[in-house]
């Protein structure tokens, strides 16, 4: 882990812009985050990216905190802090402004159009995240089966995803997932 101003600036630019592009939540920008952090800047390897994704999914709180681990790997503790602030601040400032103005836009046509028009795109981006992470993790057929099983389980039941994570960790720990 090295610390230098250039890397910190890159973290600010990358996550500051991802913050404003993350319509539908952080999971929609995972492919882009992977493109920048792994392919572009080589802050992490594919496997490390897939692993911190797993950690962020299994941890409490907003999953966008995954950026703190990208920052940690890229530039140490300061990097973690800078990446987190860069990821949260722009969207939060925008939401703050929008919260003050929200009532005025209640019936605006552009608001309805934005809401309905972005929804299908968000669906496509979520499914893209699934594929990109799977490729990053270099999954074998048993991991694909586990992914398929958890997807179906989480779609058709209301089981707490945390239990599914723990179960999958145990299955992995037994050496059953390659």
């Amino acid at each position: 882990m090295t610390m230098n101003g250039g890397t910190l600036l890159q973290l600010i630019v990358v996550f500051g812009s991802l913050s404003l592009l993350s319509f539908g939540g952080t999971n929609t920008v995972l492919p882009e985050m992977h493109r920048q952090a792994v392919t572009g800047y080589h802050w992490l390897t594919d496997l490390q990216f897939a692993s911190i994704f797993a950690i962020s999914q299994a941890s409490p709180g907003p999953s966008s905190l995954i950026v703190s681990l990208v920052g940690l790997k890229a530039a140490g503790w300061l990097g973690a802090l800078v990446a987190t602030i860069a990821m949260f601040t722009p969207a939060a400032v925008l939401t703050f402004a929008a919260s003050l103005a929200w009532e005025r836009f209640r019936d605006a046509k552009w608001r309805i159009a934005t809401e309905k028009g972005l929804a299908p795109i968000t669906v496509g981006l979520l499914l893209a995240s699934g594929l990109v992470i799977t490729r990053a993790a270099d999954h074998g057929w048993s991991a694909f089966m586990l992914t398929g099983a958890t997807t179906i389980l989480l779609v058709i039941t209301r089981v707490n995803p945390l239990f599914v994570m723990v179960g999958a960790g145990i299955i992995g720990g037994l050496g059953l997932v390659k």
Binding site: V29, G117, G124, L146, L154, P161, A168, V177
Partner: protein, 194 residues
């Protein structure tokens, strides 16, 4: 803050209440189901928002970029105490989870060479992908009811996952098409506020 929101009887909510409330939401909801838990805590337990107010807040949170629950925290914080309230809610939501995430990350970066550790994570990665896919599938079952919606979703998927275009390009290319398609064409009678 709107006049309507100010006119309504506001529960007494301190900055500390805001921080603790969103800390609770963060801690109980991990693994997902955040909006369900947020509703449970904000509407049922604390009664800070009515059901309708909560849905409005959630729509706003979903519409804007950023994690939904983060945006929800900023909205609720702003509603009660403006900028400082937003800060308190956001701090409550993120600081403890950040400490947990960094601890797990440090453990990971130090011990990931241990074979057992990586095996466990491989399982968790597979389930984590499943969680993300299930969100996409559930939202898709709700939303993808027209050919145009399906086309937009497929185009976003192909652009991002197959062609690996930058996200801004995918959004700049598709969002205007989606917005134009769903632009309300006839004015429906809006429900009057009670």
């Amino acid at each position: 803050m709107s006049k309507a929101a100010l006119d309504r009887k506001q529960p007494a909510v301190t900055h500390r209440d805001l921080a603790l409330c969103f800390l609770k939401i963060a801690l109980v909801s991990f693994g997902g189901g955040l909006s369900a838990w947020a509703r449970q805590v904000l509407v049922e337990e604390r009664q800070w928002l009515t059901d309708e107010e909560f849905l409005t807040a959630l729509t706003l949170a979903r519409l804007l970029p950023g994690p939904n629950v983060t945006n929800l925290a900023v909205y609720v914080g702003t509603r009660f105490h403006g900028l400082s309230g937003a800060g308190a809610a956001l701090a409550g939501l993120t600081l403890v989870p950040l400490a947990i995430m960094l601890s797990l990350g440090v453990i990971y970066f130090h011990y990931h060479h241990l074979p057992g550790f990586q095996s466990v994570l491989t399982g968790v990665v597979a389930a984590g992908v499943g969680l993300t896919l299930s969100m996409g599938v559930k939202a898709g079952l709700d939303i993808l009811r027209q050919p145009m919606a399906v086309a937009l979703a497929v185009a976003a998927f192909v652009g991002m996952a197959i062609l690996r275009w930058p996200l801004w390009l995918v959004l700049v290319g598709l969002a205007p098409i989606g917005m134009a398609w769903y632009w309300p064409r006839e004015r429906k009678n809006q429900e009057e506020e009670p």
